[in-house]
């Protein structure tokens, strides 16, 4: 990411949505920004971290999203502006704090950015985090373009400070990673000195009157939003079809009406703020159209709100036709697209719509038979491949139908073929050891299967600790495997407590996994997952012991990080004389079963060949080749 504090005001630049949010926060005078990495939100904090020194602000990667928001709230109470950014899952982690914070209120502007991931391109779900605005009665802003990301971020801080409550800014994966023209504004000259007036106290009691205060703030926010002009109408005075849309869907609707040739018949009510809904504006436009289509991702957030408003005013408005999730004109799952909105519009308006020549479509579709899917998997040299290999071998040899409780990180791909599909359950950060803890207590009910919980090093700190304490306390019987690759690899190699470095590149204090285990009284062993034999022996023994929580730390630096640090020690080769390829009793053991992309099955010769561009030289495959055909020689010796 770049230092966005150096951009010249007034000069249009190509900027990513996430970078524009970061710039907006700087222009709003943010003093403390905190986050836990998670695609598609990670670039916001990374950009701020890279700008922190020149902007004179404090930026941190926190252990989890709840802590991030609490840190940002501290800035607010000290009279400064704070921001926490996260992906949709993070909102759930922070939710308990949010639902109390909204009652106690805030002082300096406090903004929560959630970047949702419709279609779950880089997530375990496609949750619509806008629910938090309803649950916690918070104003919710939804930009559609990078330029709006900047503008609405600034507005969010203003709004927060005016009403004394948290404001939510909601991005989307497409928007977060979209680049478009953005014209930065000026940065603030000076920021106040932090100070918490000891007479100011922030808590939620007495609950009922404080609840009323919270509602009053939301009502006040509604007035401010209406005045800010972030919701606006674009189209004929009395449209045949009114589209009410937010986020990227606003742009899809705009394009869709051109695509179906209905520009003059369709009006769009652009909702830059979707909570509280601007009732006056909505009523005004409902009165002028009889058909209403909703375009939003993913849940029917606006749809249900507008219908609720309509129900209160049905006598004056008369009968209307609503098109959206309930009628199938907006899919209840997955991303929206201009084509989907166009198809809905064409259907409602009775217009012809085809994507292209049907004969072409049929031919293009038939040709897809040639296109093999491109499945994601562990990188060449990834320590997780070796780790899952050992788990697969040992659990099979153990023979008691062992269960692997998974967690969130690159190693979630243990559910896929490159992880030998060896993971039985994956949910959210830290849920793996929690589920394992429960399984390990079913021994008294006759549950005899061994249990392994896998957590990455970053996940270990994020949410695994309470589950581990629980397991230790209650004497749950399982094996915790910490897949320590010394990086938050999935999201872009951010530092975490175990690495000791911080978001701003300064030295923090490394928090040691072993010390935590020792402090909890847990027996632990550190292993190198590249050493398959030692790893498998230790894992097998750990599974046989039983009776409590045991920890194995599989420690090996992420292959991508290692590549940047001088690479791996081995130069690999396949001896074609020894390789038995297809004819071997093993039927292409390395390419079919082990599945490292550095090993390629050559259809022509029926043998394995090594792709020297892809292979990084981790040496693990040499240990699994039954014919001894894969050789590892030290790189130095051959260089």
């Amino acid at each position: 990411m770049a230092d966005v504090s150096k951009l010249a005001p007034g000069q249009k630049v190509l900027m990513q949505g996430n970078e524009a949010i970061a710039r907006g926060a700087l222009e709003a005078g943010v003093s403390l920004a905190a986050a836990y990495p998670g695609n598609p939100s990670s670039e916001i904090l990374q950009t701020l971290a890279d700008s922190a020194r020149s902007a004179g602000i404090y930026v941190e990667w926190s252990t989890n999203e709840k802590v991030a928001l609490e840190s940002a709230a501290a800035a607010s109470y000290a009279g400064l502006r704070g921001m926490a950014s996260m992906k949709q899952n993070g909102v759930n982690v922070a939710q308990d704090f949010i639902c109390n914070l909204t009652i106690s209120g805030t002082k300096g502007g406090l903004v929560l950015v959630t970047c949702d991931d419709p279609s779950g391109v880089s997530s375990t779900n496609e949750q619509d985090a806008r629910f938090i605005a309803r649950v916690a009665c918070l104003p919710l802003l939804e930009p559609a373009t990078p330029a709006e990301c900047l503008k609405l971020t600034k507005l969010a801080f203003e709004l927060s400070e005016q009403i004394g409550n948290l404001v939510v800014l909601r991005g989307l994966a497409r928007l977060s990673h979209t680049r478009a023209g953005v014209t930065p504004g000026p940065l603030p000259e000076a920021k106040p000195r932090p100070h918490w007036d000891p007479n100011e106290r922030w808590f939620t009691i007495p609950v009922v009157p404080r609840h009323q205060v919270m509602l009053d703030k939301l009502a006040q926010a509604g007035e401010l939003i209406a005045a800010a002009g972030v919701n606006y109408y674009d189209g004929p005075v009395r449209p045949e079809l009114l589209v009410i849309a937010s986020g990227s869907s606003r742009l899809y609707a705009d394009e869709a009406r051109r695509l179906v040739g209905a520009g003059g018949r369709v009006g769009i009510l652009h909702m830059g703020a979707t909570w509280p809904l601007d009732q006056e504006l909505i009523l005004e436009h409902l009165a002028r159209a009889d058909k209403i289509l909703f375009a939003e991702e993913v849940d029917p957030h606006i749809e249900s709100g507008v219908k609720s408003i309509y129900a209160q005013h049905v006598r004056e408005l008369g009968l209307k036709d609503f098109y959206g999730q309930e009628t199938g004109h907006k899919p209840p799952i997955g991303e929206l697209s201009p084509s989907r909105v166009a198809a809905a519009m064409a259907d409602i308006l009775g217009l012809p719509w085809q994507e292209t020549d049907p004969a072409y479509l049929a031919k293009a579709k038939a040709a897809q038979a040639l296109v093999a899917p491109r499945q994601v998997g562990f990188c060449p040299g990834c320590p997780h491949r070796a780790s899952y290999w050992s788990m697969k071998q040992v659990l099979s040899a153990d023979g008691r139908e062992g269960i692997v409780s998974g967690d969130i990180g690159c190693y979630t791909m243990g559910v896929l073929p490159t992880g030998y599909e060896r993971v039985n359950a994956v949910h959210c950060m830290g849920s793996g050891p929690g589920i394992a803890s429960g399984l390990g207590k079913l021994r008294s009910q006759g549950f005899e299967q061994p249990v392994i919980s896998v957590v990455g090093d970053s996940t270990f700190f994020h949410a695994a600790l309470p589950a581990l304490v629980n397991a230790r306390w209650n004497n749950s019987d399982y094996v915790l495997v910490v897949l320590d690759n010394s990086a938050t690899a999935m999201t872009g190699f951010q530092p975490h407590p175990g690495t000791g470095s911080t978001a701003m590149g300064q030295a923090g204090t490394a928090v040691d996994v072993e010390q935590i285990c020792a402090g909890l009284g847990l027996p632990y062993t550190v292993l190198d997952p590249y050493d398959l034999e030692a790893t498998q022996e230790a894992l097998y023994d750990a599974l046989q012991i039983g009776g409590g929580l045991r920890v194995l730390i599989f420690r090996r630096t992420c292959a991508l990080v290692q590549n940047k640090r001088g690479g791996h020690p081995w130069r690999m080769s396949v001896d074609p004389q020894l390789c038995r390829g297809e004819d071997c009793g093993c039927d292409r053991f390395c390419t079919r079963v082990f599945r490292c992309p550095g090993l390629v099955f050559d259809q022509a010769t029926g043998k394995t060949v090594l792709d020297e561009v892809v292979c990084v030289g981790c040496g693990v495959c040499a240990q699994i080749c039954p014919a001894g055909a894969i050789k590892a020689r030290p790189k130095e010796a051959t260089a």
């Binding site: 190509l14 742009l251 072409y360 040709a367 296109v371 491109r374």
Partner: protein
């Protein structure tokens, strides 16, 4: 500002994680923005470094700001760093009038490496691509990049090739300037050579 031959001008840039198509789309977007057009570059990534397909959409217009996703089967051109990816995306964005520029070097999916799926023969792949577009440019971009000493330059070679077609309202000079904004001068000599190689490839085609 030159009028757009296609408005909107929708260019899909695709490839496999790590091939540099996100960078290529950024360079293209920056060059077009600098030239005064409305530009939206939509990207999807997340697991890009782990062998997945990665697609960017460079959307250019003289008028309204466009969304990050283009309508299906409406692309002006598909620029692909990997030939199978070009075919994959024709299934989403193709139409009889689309122009396809693709690198000819295959990158086999994991399932093919594992011997479970087949990668089409180059001749079959090429013929299929040809049958699904108005014009196919089947270019040895990786080979050209390797002549310059680094396979990663294939993305810049393809950008050069794109500049040689009558699609963009800008030329290689503007693309070179955008590269210059993103790379130190020390790397520009190679980038210039790569652009020139791409131009030459498409002129010879």
């Amino acid at each position: 500002m030159k009028a757009l031959k296609y408005d909107p001008l929708d260019i899909v840039v695709t490839g496999v994680g790590g091939q540099g198509n996100v960078l290529a789309s950024q360079v293209l977007g920056l060059a077009l923005l600098t030239a005064g057009y409305e530009v939206t570059v939509g990207e999807t990534y997340g697991l890009s470094q782990r062998g997945g397909s990665v697609t960017s959409q460079v959307r250019v217009s003289s008028g309204p700001v466009l969304g990050p996703m283009m309508p299906d089967h409406r692309a002006t051109a598909i620029v692909s760093l990997e030939p199978l990816e070009a075919l994959r995306l024709l299934g989403v964005y193709g139409h009889p009038g689309v122009v396809v520029l693709t690198n000819d070097r295959p990158l086999r999916p994991l399932g093919v490496l594992a011997g479970e799926q087949l990668y089409p023969e180059p001749a079959e792949l090429r013929a299929t691509l040809e049958s699904l577009c108005a014009k196919l440019y089947w270019l040895p971009a990786t080979a050209a990049a390797l002549e310059l000493g680094n396979h990663i330059l294939a993305n810049v070679v393809l950008l050069g090739a794109l500049c040689g077609l009558d699609l963009l309202p800008i030329g290689a000079a503007e693309v070179e300037a955008a590269l210059g904004d993103m790379f130190p001068e020390s790397k520009m000599a190679l980038n210039r050579e790569a652009l020139a190689k791409g131009l030459a490839l498409v002129r010879a085609a």
